[in-house]
């Protein structure tokens, strides 16, 4: 069981009390320059936690970590006949609490992703869907419920390679790195997510970073018309910044990565209706994107046809 060493600012009385509990097993992981310690009160949950790690995470031996996630297993106590909660702590504070183990695993995954996204020093995480097409990355920044995952799913069916449905991970060379995980679709009535594996839909995951080619600021709206408008670099960066995980903590670093990525990219914005109906047009935009005049013509053509319809 590694003894994690955490920055002094986290050594609060709550963290000291938590650390004094009996921790039977733990492991360290590293991803995108972030080191995270995970410890549990019950070794039986370790394989489940390791299975839930994102593909980018590697196990390591580090004891000096950026953050510590602590998983406490509850359950029924036969002596006192009480039912204790399962808990996930992020450093000194409770992140998730439930009697259901699957909710705790979801909480652990969510906490891990948030920490990676905000603490990564060598990468900038944009909350976005991302796919690869003809050697370039197409990114769809957007909040939850904007239809990112549905659009990513349809693009994969059309032959695009998968990068992520949650984060577009930018480096400082203007490339988008894969953040592969099963696509999370909201199918159930209560808004819960259902995971769809890429292989089950016949898709492939990109195995190398791709240069950013196109940023599409779009979200689902019933009865919306697809009218792509070309954004200026500044407007494009605003749309990325509005979905950048670490923007508030490291705005200068985020802007530097986004500015570098935007040098080779085009930005468009439009509302959309069904994802399947706009997929060919989005792929066409990237096809013509290398010829800037032609690209502007395609975008302009869409706007003019809308104008002729009196819109």
């Amino acid at each position: 069981m590694p003894r994690f060493s955490l920055s002094a600012k986290w050594h609060t009385p709550c963290y000291e009390k938590l650390s004094a509990l009996e921790w039977t097993s733990g492991f360290s992981i590293a991803s995108h320059g972030v080191r995270i310690g995970v410890r549990t009160s019950d070794p039986s949950i370790v394989p489940i936690l390791k299975d839930s790690l994102p593909a980018s995470c590697e196990l390591c031996e580090a004891e000096a970590v950026d953050t510590v996630l602590s998983v406490v297993l509850g359950g029924r106590d036969k002596k006192t006949r009480t039912r204790r909660y399962h808990l996930v702590y992020h450093n000194h504070s409770v992140f998730s609490r439930s009697h259901r183990l699957e909710e705790i695993i979801d909480g652990f995954k969510s906490c891990l992703a948030m920490n990676l996204a905000t603490l990564a020093r060598r990468r900038v995480f944009i909350h976005a869907g991302a796919v690869g097409w003809q050697g370039k990355a197409i990114v769809f920044p957007g909040k939850s419920y904007s239809g990112k995952s549905t659009l990513v799913l349809e693009l994969i069916k059309a032959g695009a390679s998968y990068l992520s449905d949650e984060f577009a991970v930018l480096d400082f060379k203007g490339r988008v790195h894969p953040y592969p995980k099963p696509i999370s679709l909201r199918k159930t009535a209560n808004g819960k997510q259902m995971d769809v594996s890429i292989s089950s839909i016949g898709g492939t995951t990109a195995d190398a970073p791709l240069t950013l080619g196109l940023v599409v600021d779009t979200q689902f709206q019933p009865n919306a018309l697809w009218l792509p408008r070309m954004l200026s670099p500044g407007e494009g960066l605003l749309s990325l910044l509005a979905n950048c995980a670490a923007a508030r903590y490291a705005p200068e670093r985020c802007l530097r990565a986004m500015e570098r990525a935007s040098q080779n990219a085009q930005f468009i914005a439009s509302p959309r209706e069904e994802a399947a109906s706009v997929v060919p047009e989005i792929l066409d935009l990237l096809r013509t994107e290398t010829e800037t005049d032609e690209f502007a013509g395609v975008v302009q053509g869409s706007a003019e046809s809308a104008h002729s319809l009196g819109l």
């Binding site: 992140f95 939850s144 909201r186 209560n190 819960k192 997510q193 200026s232 605003l238 508030r248 500015e259």
Partner: protein, 162 residues
């Protein structure tokens, strides 16, 4: 009451991150976490707001480049955008004979200008606000972790219909 020509707007320099993107300028406010994109016209005005030039002098410098409307209108509209986005340093609080201060005077002048947006401002959300949302009856925390999905709100530690 001071004439507009007496007012020397000064662009804010403290607690902001500025990136030049060709003819545009993107400014991130470290205090309010607002990001503002100035278009080419507003960027030129921004660069001339050094606290030494008056509005009249800035307008005169941009006279030849004004496209659509007079240069002074463009400058006043840009200044209005800067005031809204808190991108100007405090104008010295000098009382006029009417009891107004210079900032009020400046605000009054620019309010009369044509309101063509020359800057776009967004509020940059915290990570918790952009992360994937929680479904109905899922456990939530008000100030940390993912938010509840649209149509739901965090009440009594559960996402419940609004």
């Amino acid at each position: 009451m001071p004439m507009p020509s007496e007012i020397r707007p000064k662009a804010r320099t403290a607690r902001i991150v500025v990136r030049e993107l060709g003819s545009e300028v993107l400014i991130y406010d470290l205090d309010s976490h607002d990001a503002t994109c100035l278009n080419a016209a507003a960027s030129k005005v921004w660069k001339l707001c050094d606290g030494k030039r008056t509005i009249g002098e800035i307008s005169a410098e941009l006279e030849n480049e004004a496209c659509g409307g007079s240069a002074e209108e463009n400058v006043l509209t840009a200044l209005e955008n800067f005031i809204q986005a808190n991108l100007l340093e405090e104008v010295p609080e000098i009382e006029t004979s009417d009891g107004e201060n210079r900032r009020d005077v400046l605000r009054g002048i620019v309010a009369s200008a044509t309101a063509i947006p020359l800057a776009t401002t967004i509020s940059v959300p915290a990570m918790a606000q952009i992360a994937s949302c929680l479904g109905r009856r899922e456990r939530c925390r008000r100030f940390f972790g993912p938010e509840c999905c649209p149509g739901l709100e965090c009440r009594r530690r559960r996402c419940r219909p609004e």
